[in-house]
Symmetry: C2
Subunit: 561 residues, 2 copies
């Protein structure tokens, strides 16, 4: 055990005893589950190109599990490997637990190994053989510390070769890849490679990401989203209560989620703060930074007119990248800095560098750059990643916005159009939620996803993503099966090359969740409609312990599926 | 109700049903409780000066409640006012609920009003009469939003005059002051003033502060400390798990608590991170900033030698003010900036201002200033409060330390003494914990404190602080009574004047909690002894819901009391 002195919290001791509820269809084990295959499928877009890349695995049929004797799934003992890929999400350990239990139930001689530290564990052949005793300490816990995770991708021909060698030498029959969109794209490529190379390796994916942007008709949500948004909502709710008690501060909270604003929207539903910014709307409306700032200032002013110099605003981490002019600016900066790297490096003062860069930007971008707070402008210019690019994830958007709102309000004050007080406090929540103890929902969901992955593997359904659905119903009624990974693909340009990738699910501006938000946001802006969800509860009334996300509720009750 | 559209979270609905456990001694109401008075008391220090200021209320005897008929406490209907003063702490609403229920139980004709927005509510005569229906929505909830709080002090003769006028006109028999050390000092002054002016007003204090620095032999802990530290520990535990899963970052977490490091120590016990800095130790050992940085770098290097380029460090918010040289620097900066205000204001560039200030500082302080990261040095010079003083609370100590550690490690790397990676992520937790839903402990404790305050008021025990003790025992066994406010006073210089104030309880370096920490910290530093407490639970096994703080456990089991 990694935990140094073996101390375990009281809650963790109790959580070890929790028995996840398995969907009825899986309860008798893989030997009593038959896969019903549907029609051949197509990728969501770019069918020709995706088909060309996935020559051996494109167009697989959907698989839905139904009751039925399936002795083949119990017969031969198999060896399965699991790997955790990418950022942590609550419930990863339960995926392993479900997978382990599903395999053992089918045949006690089945074995499970865990590659250590993410996909690099496959390449470096680092793994541990998972035993019940080992695993029992990690059931229903947060974190990925049981076998750790990593961000290595298996991409080059050499890497594929090494992976093949290690998997074959270890006599692995199936590989379960737990990850987000990128990791599952990688899983699909490995499945394709195995078929092409004629290796008897079944590859199964499991949809993981707190960001909630890996979802579609068949994957209703990725695991971890429920727990992470509940943790952030606990904190935002506490801040709303603090704001309404002290009545003297505005709090700006940036929430994790770079590519999509699902987390911010869900936390918005759970807490009803005064301002909720959604990146996808900013993009759709082609909003400028100034328009966003004006929008915030407008709410601040109107509340101040009612004597309310306080409020709470939620900002998605990726907001900046949704603002078209900022995207243009970042891209132009990358170019100017790359093209004049040595010249700029030779300059001594920041002032000199700034002047040079400003002169070399198109005029409208130079003006935009000048409108930014000095600290942010310097950060954009000076903080570069190893590839020389602007480090967008380091930009403290909540600080950028409050500084600009502050400036705007000062101007309006001089003109006599605003007489309130604006004092802002800033927060960023992300890491706090990735390793929380999974909610009952996520504990059940991940256990089912893992167990279901075992059934897929035992049926040799390669190139599939573990699919557990009907999630707003009780866990017993969840439907299980597999969705072909290629079905979710399209082609995108990455680093100048066309690549097949699983399409990210952004907040749908025509979907019910966003529409419900739009219906309510004006009321939230002016009132104190705050809701205080409090911390995740694992015991007590089902109303408190077992509710799912508001996003899922709205999506599924809209009758869209 | 303040909540705009009346939506209430599922947990809040359930928490409304919670019935706090009242200490057995209070269960039959004030009519069955007799106050046993002890010997006359003395202030903790400066007895002569304190006595002079509190001519009418100095030296009151301790009061301990025992069973016994007390018809007088039920006879006459009284009108009581409650006021919340200072920062929020979980359980404030339950103080009001306990007070209300204690008053009504004694005599249904007793009434309770709440002054709004803190002590300024007394001066502005803003209040609401509290009814059961109103209150029921706030039972067992976090926040002070029921009647809000404020930081106004009643200090000038005019303010005392106004307070007297409003309290007399409202026919208030007793005033219950819920606050920290400063607020309860103010309560003591009002009690003294009322006696001097011959007004029949009983003033009772209630010990509130998440910081945990209002405690002594009779006040075992202030309310809110339990809940707030549990919330911070949930987050720090999640971060520890994240760190141990990703194994590539150091996280530096600054925790609220400027004057004392109790919060940091308690969160340290609950999560066992690699580094825990305690301000009181820094002061005692007269540590320099460089020594603190060296100490952190030492742990980073030793862990890196074991291949562990990750860890978690806790930093108390007030650390900087405990570093003697920093205190000296801040004081010298205040002087230089005040003495040369107009000259400095006339300078155009930051560079020019810096050069001037550096020249005017004593040499060792100028050197210290130059050793600080540029951003922090600018902040120290430029961000001033309305009195022209350095805004110490704005200093992001976690950023200061990581930048300096980073610099130190870079130097050592050049010398070939370090070859690890140091990538740091920073957090500040404070506001997230002040308004959380009170833990069962705090819900019971605050209800008892409020109920006990009612009994003190009904016995006309003025100038007392509500005292509920034996807190590591079940709530039924808690002992109740009152402690004279003057007993906790000493004289301190504030803004150049000698003032009577309640003495702050700092972390006692000879106390059992600190000693336990010292015993364990080397092990925590090098191992991953992390504990993951998870979120506060309100339902389920008592081991999970009802435990108190580790600090209290250590203090009381040390046999010191």
């Amino acid at each position: 055990m990694a935990r140094g002195n073996g101390s375990v919290s009281e809650l963790q001791q109790e959580r070890r005893k929790f028995k996840p509820v398995l969907p009825a269809i899986l309860q008798a084990g893989a030997g009593s589950v038959k896969a019903k295959l549907g029609k051949a499928t197509k990728s969501v877009a770019d069918q020709e190109k995706v088909k060309e890349i996935f020559d051996h695995t494109y167009g697989l049929p959907e698989a839905a599990f139904a009751k039925g004797a399936n002795p083949a799934a119990k017969k031969k003992a198999v060896k399965v490997a699991v790997v955790l890929s990418g950022g942590q999400a609550p419930g990863g350990h339960n995926v392993i637990a479900g997978l382990f239990d599903g395999l053992k139930k089918a045949n006690p001689k089945n074995t499970l190994i865990g590659y250590l530290g993410g996909p690099s564990g496959i390449l470096e052949n680092k793994f541990k053989t998972i035993t019940k005793d080992m695993l029992d300490n990690y059931r229903n816990t947060g974190g990925f510390d049981f076998i750790q995770s990593g961000r290595t991708k298996i991409e080059t021909p050499e890497q594929f070769e090494t992976a093949k060698k290690n998997l074959v030498e270890n006599k692995i029959n199936a590989l379960v890849f737990v990850g987000g969109d990128d990791s599952n794209t990688n899983a699909a490529l490995i499945a394709e490679y195995a078929k092409k190379e004629n290796i008897a390796l079944c590859v199964v994916g499991v949809p993981k990401t707190i960001d909630g942007d890996l979802k579609n008709e068949h994957i209703e949500t990725s695991f971890g989203f429920d727990t992470a948004t509940k943790i952030y909502a606990e904190l935002v709710g506490n801040i709303c209560r603090d704001v309404n008690s002290a009545q003297k501060y505005w709090h700006f909270v940036r929430l994790m989620g770079r590519s999509a604003s699902h987390i911010t929207l869900e936390v918005g539903f759970k807490t009803q703060p005064n301002i909720v910014l959604i990146g996808e709307e900013v993009l759709e409306k082609k909003m400028t930074l100034a328009q966003i700032v004006d929008g915030i200032a407008d709410v601040v002013i109107k509340r101040a007119q009612q004597g309310k110099n306080f409020g709470v605003a939620l900002v998605p981490e990726g907001l900046i990248e949704f603002v078209p002019e900022m995207k243009e600016l970042i891209s132009a900066l990358n170019d100017v800095l790359a093209e004049n790297a040595s010249e700029i490096a030779a300059m001594n003062s920041t002032e000199e560098k700034k002047t040079f860069v400003f002169q070399n930007l198109p005029q409208h971008l130079s003006a935009l750059m000048k409108s930014l707070p000095a600290g942010i402008a310097s950060q954009l210019m000076l903080d570069r990643d190893p590839h020389g690019n602007v480090q967008v994830s380091l930009i403290e958007t909540e600080k950028l916005l409050t500084e600009m709102v502050h400036k705007k309000l000062s101007e309006l004050k001089k003109e006599g159009k605003y007489s309130g007080k604006f004092s802002a406090i800033m927060h960023f929540f992300g890491y706090e939620g990735r390793c929380g103890i999974p909610s009952n929902f996520d504990a059940n969901y991940t256990y089912a996803l893992g167990y279901n992955a075992a059934v897929l593997a035992l049926n040799n359904l390669t190139g599939y993503l573990s699919s557990v659905k009907n999630l707003i119903k009780p866990a017993k009624q969840w439907a299980c099966g597999g969705i072909p990974l290629t079905m979710m693909m399209n082609i995108e340009r990455r680093h100048g090359k066309e690549k097949p990738v699983i399409k990210k699910a952004l907040v749908d501006l025509n979907g019910r969740p966003f529409k419900e938000f739009v219906k309510n946001r004006d009321k939230w802006a002016m009132s104190e409609s705050y809701i205080f969800p409090g911390p995740i509860q694992y015991f007590g009334p089902a109303s408190v312990t077992d509710m799912t996300t508001q996003t899922l509720q709205y999506e599924q009750k809209a009758g869209k599926r």
